[in-house]
């Protein structure tokens, strides 16, 4: 009897330990994952605006850093934010248009080189554009000599570069979706004399809306976080994107600008965090297919 009781206590204890260390381990990782986030929230509310001597719960917490953020003339955060949104929306809209056109051809038309074309698009896009940043810089410079509106330090030039990277995984994603749309509607439209473009515009695009939204936001997120090419092409303070602007803003000024930076970081991160949770399902399935978020 006593023997048995002893054993069950032992097992209970082993079980408890087993469960305890699992939770403990996970909590250690959660602390690792969250402490920068918690700390940056605390910094944004700390009117001291300096990283040194920062406390977890800031004394005299206030929103003054958020106010300072939008008042700085030297560092026009509001303009950077608008620039970024403008670039993201224009790029994402054009990318959706360009890639859905191409995906329609790959899904609905049969032509020589279709398979190798699909393969080639994927292969070419395996090379990140930033590898050719020097050439891109020189090309945009040359372009600007003739068409100043597309030259260095213009948003149109930057969008042009981004559009170069539009084809690729997006075309595959859209083609996959278009393939699942039944062809019966198009066939009857075809009999009524509709052109392929009319079918694409009036039938396929409306039916494909869910995937178009996904591609739009995936591109939005990618453009939002793009740093290298924006850094290479843009120069004027009022032209910068948030990524480039924040980098120039904080560069080695942590002692003086930490609080304002924290406020900017929170505002800057918010749209992407929201989009992430909104798109989570697609992101995760995209991830397991090999796409890596930048």
């Amino acid at each position: 009897m006593a023997e048995q009781g002893h054993r069950s206590i032992k097992r209970f204890f082993a079980n408890f330990l087993n469960r305890f260390w699992r939770h403990a381990l996970i909590w250690v990782c959660i602390v690792f994952a969250l402490f920068p986030v918690v700390w940056i929230i605390s910094a944004s509310l700390d009117p001291a605006n300096s990283i040194s001597g920062q406390k977890l719960i800031p004394p005299n917490a206030s929103f003054i850093n958020f106010q300072r953020l939008f008042q700085s003339e030297q560092h026009p955060f509001g303009i950077w934010f608008l620039n970024t949104f403008k670039l993201c929306i224009v790029t994402a809209t054009l990318v959706v248009l360009i890639t859905s056109l191409a995906a329609y051809a790959f899904s609905r038309l049969r032509f020589k080189g279709r398979r190798s074309g699909l393969f080639a698009i994927l292969l070419i896009q395996m090379f990140p554009q930033m590898l050719a940043m020097v050439a891109i810089y020189l090309i945009v410079f040359m372009l600007g000599e003739y068409i100043p509106a597309l030259g260095l330090d213009t948003h149109a030039g930057l969008i042009l570069v981004y559009l170069g990277g539009a084809m690729g995984a997006n075309v595959w994603l859209l083609k996959g979706f278009f393939d699942t749309i039944p062809k019966s509607l198009e066939e009857s439209a075809m009999i009524d004399g509709a052109t392929h473009f009319q079918i694409f515009w009036r039938i396929i695009l409306p039916l494909a809306r869910p995937i178009l939204v996904v591609v739009f936001f995936l591109q939005f997120m990618a453009t939002y976080s793009e740093f290298v090419i924006a850094r290479v092409l843009l120069a004027d303070t009022n032209n910068l994107t948030m990524a480039v602007g924040l980098q120039t803003f904080i560069a080695d000024q942590y002692a003086k600008r930490w609080g304002v930076f924290a406020a900017a970081a929170l505002i800057g991160a918010l749209p992407i965090v929201i989009l992430y949770w909104f798109l989570q399902k697609h992101l995760v399935s995209g991830l397991t297919r090999g796409a890596v978020k930048g």
């Binding site: 699992r22 996970i26 994952a33 969250l34 920068p36 986030v37 940056i40 300096s50 990283i51 040194s52 248009l97 360009i98 191409a102 329609y104 038309l109 049969r110 032509f111 279709r114 398979r115 699909l118 393969f119 994927l122 070419i124 090379f127 990140p128 554009q129 930033m130 590898l131 050719a132 940043m133 020097v134 090309i139 042009l160 570069v161 559009l163 170069g164 539009a166 084809m167 075309v171 083609k175 066939e187 075809m190 976080s225 290298v228 990524a243 924040l246 980098q247 942590y254 002692a255 930076f261 970081a265 800057g268 991160a269 992407i272 965090v273 991830l287 397991t288 090999g290 890596v292 930048g294």
Partner: protein, 537 residues
């Protein structure tokens, strides 16, 4: 096969042009194409005149492609792919080709101009002649790009400088008018006189004016009058003379000849003139990466760290991600959903913001980490600690991704394998290493390789956290101990100070192309992306 035949049918049925709408569309199409071609035809001579062969080629190919796509009936699929293909051609394929070209040139600071531009610059350099008289100027303009200067010499003689030539008042091609009779000319032709402050808005244009002496003035033909300061024009002689026959620049002052060598003008005694021009230099950029001690040493350091960095990034993030995935995969674990959400948070923030936050945290003097540890580790100043900091930052950024994909892969492992193993008496530890891990590795290998390729070029993390620093001592180009190849490329080309080595930077880019290309090709075989195309028909 059947499906294909059917589709071909359907797009041949609609070229009969049944509706009037189509005629209208056709006309619009032709007008638009006409405009496009007119634009191209207008641009071609301009580009030709400037010797912009590359832009010219791109323009011709793009225009021809658009014409073909919209005029040929067979090109229907091309019409749909055209926008994407054009952008891809201009901003992906062409830059790759251009990178290769630049890698074989000396393109960079000091070698930006073409040879013709460089020669032009030298032949427009002038030396001040102190012994010749100076002139007091009055400025005239018609506000439409025409400029003239009235010059008075110390003896009170007056001259008109107009369109690169100096005229005496009697010979002036433009009439001088003194409207109010105060002895000051108010107009030269229709160019009005500029009062004191008005000159400032045209200073840039007036500075560029050069007037050649007419031979009878001082019996010299090679003297030029140029603005020396706003109230003084002085005499200058050209500093260089270029001879196309011998391809040399001669310094007219001392007669030194400068010959062309590798895109620079070099004298016999080895002196090099400041402005060079761009030219092809063969494999020199590549060989200097291997043989020039002050480039090759740092370069190999960067190269090996890039590989160590990419491997460590994958291994650390995968290890932590997998550990968490295994812990969270237990259905009996309480709070599982909450844990998962909390652990994914680092992945949901934009990487550029997280990297900048971590840079603050690692600050040696005021950063949180040294504060909490009560130490003063030189996180961003010491090469070793800077690397540790980067690995920690990347672990934070990357482990949630590895956790997500590992969780997915764990769920696809059939449970009967474990049941069989349990019956055979295998321990949990044993089961993990003998069943779970090998199966995971097989299904995740392509993603791990992709992650390796991604981190190999992870510019944002390196540049935003350390900017590649601390610097490697003795390096000829700005190079740091934590630079990876892609940040090294960036700094070669764009970092202030000694940046601007586009040729060398492109050579490094090509190297990265080759490495990433090999990895991607390997990965393609792994994932069997080709078969996927075939499956989908």
């Amino acid at each position: 096969m059947k499906k294909a035949a059917h589709s071909t049918d359907t797009y041949n049925t609609n070229h009969a042009g049944r509706q009037p709408v189509k005629a209208g569309l056709m006309i619009t199409k032709i007008i638009l194409l006409g405009l496009l071609n007119a634009l191209a035809l207008w641009a071609i001579p301009i580009l030709w005149g400037d010797s912009q062969w590359i832009l010219l080629g791109v323009l011709v190919i793009a225009t021809a492609g658009i014409d073909y796509a919209f005029l040929s009936k067979k090109a229907l699929p091309l019409r749909f792919m055209l926008p994407g293909l054009l952008f891809m051609m201009i901003m992906v394929i062409f830059p790759i080709g251009y990178t290769v070209y630049v890698a074989f040139t000396n393109f960079g600071t000091g070698h930006i101009l073409t040879k013709a531009q460089a020669v032009d610059q030298y032949t427009h350099r002038y030396l001040l002649q102190e012994n010749l008289p100076v002139y007091t100027p009055e400025y005239y303009t018609d506000n439409a790009g025409q400029f003239a200067v009235l010059l008075t010499d110390p003896d009170g003689r007056q001259f008109v400088g107009y369109e690169q030539t100096l005229y005496s008042l009697a010979e002036s091609p433009l009439e001088l008018v003194d409207e109010d009779g105060d002895g000051v000319f108010d107009k030269i032709g229709n160019l009005g006189r500029l009062g004191g402050l008005e000159v400032f808005s045209y200073l840039g244009q007036f500075e560029k004016l050069v007037f050649q002496y007419d031979d009878h003035l001082d019996n010299r033909t090679d003297v030029y009058l140029k603005m020396r300061s706003m109230d003084q024009f002085a005499s200058y002689v050209p500093q260089f003379e270029y001879s196309a026959a011998s391809d040399t620049l001669t310094d007219l002052e001392d007669g030194t000849a400068y010959r062309v060598l590798d895109g620079s003008f070099v004298s016999d005694s080895g002196e090099t003139l400041d402005v060079g021009f761009r030219t092809t230099v063969g494999w020199r950029n590549f060989t200097s990466l291997l043989t020039n001690k002050r480039i090759a040493g740092p370069f190999w350091q960067v190269f090996s760290w890039t590989i160590v960095w990419a491997i460590l990034s994958v291994v650390t993030t995968f290890a932590l991600g997998l550990l968490l995935a295994v812990l969270l995969n237990d259905a009996k674990l309480k709070l599982r959903g909450l844990y998962r959400v909390l652990l994914i948070i680092p992945y949901t923030l934009p990487a550029f913001i997280s990297a900048l936050i971590w840079r603050g945290m690692f600050n040696t003097e005021v950063g949180l980490i040294n504060n909490v540890l009560g130490m003063s580790i030189p996180w961003l100043q010491d090469p070793f600690w800077a690397k540790v900091a980067l690995i920690i930052v990347n672990l934070w950024l990357g482990f949630p991704y590895m956790m997500i994909i590992s969780l997915g892969a764990l769920q696809s492992i059939p449970t009967d394998l474990y049941e069989a193993a349990t019956v055979d008496g295998a321990s949990g530890w044993h089961q993990f290493w003998k069943i779970t891990f090998p199966l995971l590795l097989v299904s995740l290998a392509p993603l791990l390789i992709a992650s390796f390729a991604f981190n190999f070029n992870n510019f944002s993390v390196i540049y935003l956290v350390t900017e590649g620093r601390p610097a490697i001592a003795g390096a000829l180009t700005p190079t740091g101990a934590t630079d990876i190849l892609i940040t090294y490329t960036y700094r070669l080309a764009f970092e202030g100070g000694s940046g601007g080595r586009y040729g060398l930077a492109s050579a490094v880019s090509i190297l990265i192309f080759l490495i990433v290309g090999t990895i991607s090709w390997f990965n393609f075989r792994f994932t069997g992306a080709l078969e996927e195309v075939n499956d989908n028909g």
